[in-house]
Symmetry: C2
Subunit: 139 residues, 2 copies
Amino acid sequence: MKSLGKHLLAEYYRCDENAINDVQKVEEALVRAAEIAGATVIGKSFHRFEPYGVSGVVVISESHLTIHTWPEYGFAAVDVFTCGDHVDPMRAHEYLKEVFGTQNATVETILRGVLNIPDLRHKPGGSCVSGNCTDKRIR
Amino acid sequence: MKSLGKHLLAEYYRCDENAINDVQKVEEALVRAAEIAGATVIGKSFHRFEPYGVSGVVVISESHLTIHTWPEYGFAAVDVFTCGDHVDPMRAHEYLKEVFGTQNATVETILRGVLNIPDLRHKPGGSCVSGNCTDKRIR
C-alpha cells in the first residue's frame, strides 16, 4: 500500500526519570534521532514544565518528531512521522528508546496519506521559503 | 480505560488547495483550533515548502497539534494530541476540517499513556520554566 508517510507512535515505559526530565538532553536526543533517521531538521520547540515533564517537537523536512514526558511515571510518548523513502523512522525510535533508558516500549506504525494516485510522492527537497518560516515561543 | 492523553490522527481529503498552501492561514487555524479545544498554546513552528506544502506544529501545555499539507493532492495530515480532562481534541478537529474546506475526512483516536496507576493524571498547570524553553528555526 502506497502512502505519503509513516507515523510511529511509541510508548516508553520505565524510562530513566532524570533523562526524560532534562529539557536540554531531551532536545539533543530528538535532534540526534532525526539525524539518525536521515531527516533534515528545520525547526524545533522544547518546553519544561513545573514540577516536572518535558514537551518538545522537532520539525523536519519530512514531517516531525514529538515527545511528551512524565518523569513521575517514568513514561514518555514519542511520535516519529516521516515522509519519503530516504528516511527510516524506526532508527529514530531505536535510538530514543536506548537514550532514555527505556525498559519496556511499544511501537505502532500507521500509514498516513494513503491516496489512490499512481505516482504518489512526497514533496521534493525540503527548501523553506525565506520569511515564511516562523518559530515562536508564547510567553 | 484511563490514559494520560488522547491522540487524534486525522486525514483530510479534497481540501481547498489554497487554504492548505498558505502558511500564515494554516498557522492561524492551528492556533485557533488549539484555543477552541480549550488548550494553552506555549510554542509554535511553521514552515512553507517549495513548490508547495506547509508543515507546522503548535505545542500546547496539554501536548501538541501538528499539520502537514500536500496541496498538490488536496490532502492534509493532522494530529491533535491532548492530555487532561479540560480539553476536547475533537473540537479542534471539527474546526480544522471546516476551515480547510475538507470534503472527506477520517479520524482515529488512540489513547496514549495507558498506565496501571490508580490516580493517573496529567501534569498540573502548564507553567514553563523560564530559560528552559527553546524555539529555534534551523537555517
